[in-house]
Amino acid sequence: MKKLIHISIALILFTFVLLSGCASHPGEAERERGRAEDELILAIGTEPEGGFDPTLGWGRYGSPLFQSTLLKRDHEMRITYDLAADYSLSDDGRLWTVRLREDAKFSDGRPVTAEDVVFTFETAATNGSTIDLSNLKQVRAKGSYEVEFELHEPQSTFITLLISLGIVPKHAYGPNYAGQPIGSGPYQLVQWDRGQQLIVEVNPEYYGEKPFFRRLTFLFLQEDAALAAARAGEVDIAAIPPVYTRTSVPGMKIVDIQTVDNRGIMFPYVPSGRVTEEGYPIGNDVTSDLAIRRAVSVAIDREALVDGILEGYGTPAYTINDQLPWWNPETVFPDGDIEEAKRILAEAGWIDEDGDGIAEREGVRASFTLLYPSNDRTRQSLALTVADMVKPAGIEIIVEGKSWDELKKRMHADAVMFGWGSHDPIEMYYVYSSRYQGVDYFNPGYYSNETVDRYMEQALRAVSEEEAHEYWRQAQWDGETGVSFHGDAAWAWLVNIDHVYLVHEKLDIGRQGIHPHGHGWPITDNIASWRWAE
């Protein structure tokens, strides 16, 4: 009897001794980096489960790390060269010619040639990936270091593919490539523990600026686990949602990066009555009225949304592409103005006659439903707050959370809280073009405006970037019409959500550009310039 108790106590003690013997990590009090000077551990996002094959979509946000791309964007969104030494576009906008630099090598020592570029684009076009190359008619090598891309139709945004698609080696590409990538990028893969971590080291053959950090380890942790890891001193960078900034983590600073990762309300643009091929209803008799859309947009206090919901980590949004080179700054307007909203409504005949606080016109109440994906807390908060904000102006918004699959059936007839944000202006075309009415998630509200369509077609056909940008800007607002608030107010854009990171207080992560939709990998875009601060 007594023996048994003694044995159990001894066992418990033994376990404790064993456990504390294993302890190798310092607690919060004594925070020391238990790793070499030139090593970093990062917990910045989810695992690319499909592996690291650019032709399957790896590297579309931020740099592909192991591979290099033909062109790049710098922190001011200007286009610069990477593998390319030069590029040109024919006058009809259908033939892109890219000349390659001749000193680039893959990490196995073989040179990067035109053959590899052709192979990369042909592979990406045929293997059922998320890279849209349907407009590419043919890609061919002219000599060892020159490549020609022939398009079916002119597309100025094709350049985004030259910027985002990492080049893979033809000689070393096979079914297992995604797990053992070989490329000409700044780093090479050392080890990938699926579901856990990715260890990379500097590529000795890299032609560009050599990164300071020799070894990087990316941990694939959920946001709360990443915060726990940061608190325990196990990581140098952790991506966190804005709410987690309320408590500080000793030894780490908060870095927030501006984005076009936006949220906004999509309004059904046409009156009700029609149905889609699948039988889902199209159109809404309230939101199809310009006065309603403009009143909602002007009544919303965007600064208050940023402060209240995003803890200040965000910016007000006025278009789908705020601050990007093709943005039109004239789209900004003073908001949070209830009186202006009331005036707009009254002018259009929306007046509250029965005294219930909600305006009506010809028997129709100024009331509509706003849907949001129910698993997204930020969108839920935005939707509920917006409903509160527009109420004093006499508009009722009924907020409902649904699954994406339910949203898909109802989004043509009800307003939806969507999020977009890309470094590619083609997104604007998808969202606003009448060619994409009711096509997937692109233009669910059946928006259409002939003038806007014409500007966007011209932008696609443009042969210089600057020319294209000008047409994109005009499509937003040309002084008379456009998609933004001053024109059709087709969407009410609300906020751009900053990407927030906990970063070791001595680590300098260089100058970051405006991040696109998708938290995480974009931060590695300028990894070569990361340093320890003095």
Partner: protein, 320 residues
């Protein structure tokens, strides 16, 4: 006979999963594209659907899948873009180590605590153990996991916050001790939860035994305490414990899903959640079948052990 029943079960299960997924509103193309909506045009969506054969009717896809399985091919996972069998095997080895450790701890400590409680019936050790078991039985796995994580990994820093190997360490440098160190918290989470039913059943059974005539007789002869249990009780109380222990394979599986989520432990649980959410049918069906086989194995082992522990069952087999 048992084998035929298992095969039938697997067949029905796979049909059920296919049928349920085809009823679910998840659009696999959308799930595959994920956050990439803005980059993928309609033509490309069509291409993706065709590449993965998503446009064919469910029945046709099921038959195609079944004939592939008969040739030993579980299909290709959409998420991992790798053979489903490969993905499952890899994840399963991680989960198996974790579950085995938790299972052993559960069995040993559950059994011991149960005996302890019965020996001290109605005194404080019994009350403490009973209270603990009742509390823990109504506690969700992930919550216990979070608690352990906060206390032992974040505050005390004794254990890593997750993963199955040290961050940034190359595979060749990872020792067995490292792996054990990383497994302790998740295994502890699982066993803390799992031992409650075993302890309680063992306690009840032992109390029954204590009330029996032969124990009274043994006591009258002066036997007492632990040796009494050892000589006269063990065989009698082992049966419920063993039954529970082996039929708990299913619960172990469910608990592991949550524990793995909390500790970022790369096991089958995480893969199951992902495949379900993203409509990855080959992987999902593979995991369901795999877990069914796993649970069936547990039950079969329990059956075999009965015969070993209880000689009456061996005789029963001869008669039947």
């Amino acid at each position: 006979m048992k084998l035929i029943r298992l095969i039938l079960l697997l067949l029905v299960l796979s049909i059920a999963v296919f049928w349920l997924v085809s009823l679910s509103p998840i659009d696999p193309v959308q799930a595959y594209i994920g956050a990439d909506v803005m980059r993928v045009g309609p033509e490309q969506r069509q291409a993706i659907a065709e590449y993965w054969g998503l446009n064919d009717p469910p029945a046709e896809r099921y038959i195609r899948w079944l004939s592939a399985v008969l040739h030993g091919d579980l299909g290709t996972s959409m998420i991992y873009r790798a053979p489903a069998a490969e993905v499952i095997a890899e994840k399963f080895t991680h989960s198996l180590a974790l579950m085995a450790a938790a299972w052993l701890l559960t069995g040993v400590f559950g059994f011991l605590l149960g005996i302890l409680a019965a020996l001290y019936h109605n005194r404080w050790p019994d009350r403490l153990i009973t209270w603990y078991c009742y509390t823990i039985a109504s506690t969700p796995t992930f919550w216990i996991g979070l608690l352990l994580l906060v206390v032992f990994a974040v505050w005390l820093g004794w254990f890593p916050i997750g993963l199955s190997v040290p961050a940034g360490r190359l595979a060749a440098e990872v020792s067995l001790l490292d792996r054990i160190h990383h497994m302790i918290l998740p295994a502890l989470t699982l066993s803390l939860i799992g031992l409650a039913p075993i302890a309680m059943h063992t306690r009840e059974k032992l109390l029954d035994v204590f009330a029996s005539d032969y124990i009274t007789y043994a006591r009258a002869r002066g036997e007492k305490g632990f040796s009494l249990v050892l000589r006269h009780g063990l065989r009698n109380i082992a049966l419920p414990a063993v039954t529970l222990q082996f039929t708990s394979f299913g619960e172990l599986f469910g608990g592991a899903v949550l524990a793995e989520q909390v500790f970022s432990y790369p096991g089958l649980g995480q893969a199951a959640v992902q495949s379900g959410l993203r409509g990855d049918i080959p992987l999902l069906v593979g995991i369901v079948l795999c877990s069914a086989v796993f649970v069936a194995c547990g039950n079969m082992i329990a059956d075999l052990l009965y015969r070993f522990i209880d000689p009456r069952m061996r005789r029963g087999e001869g008669a039947g």
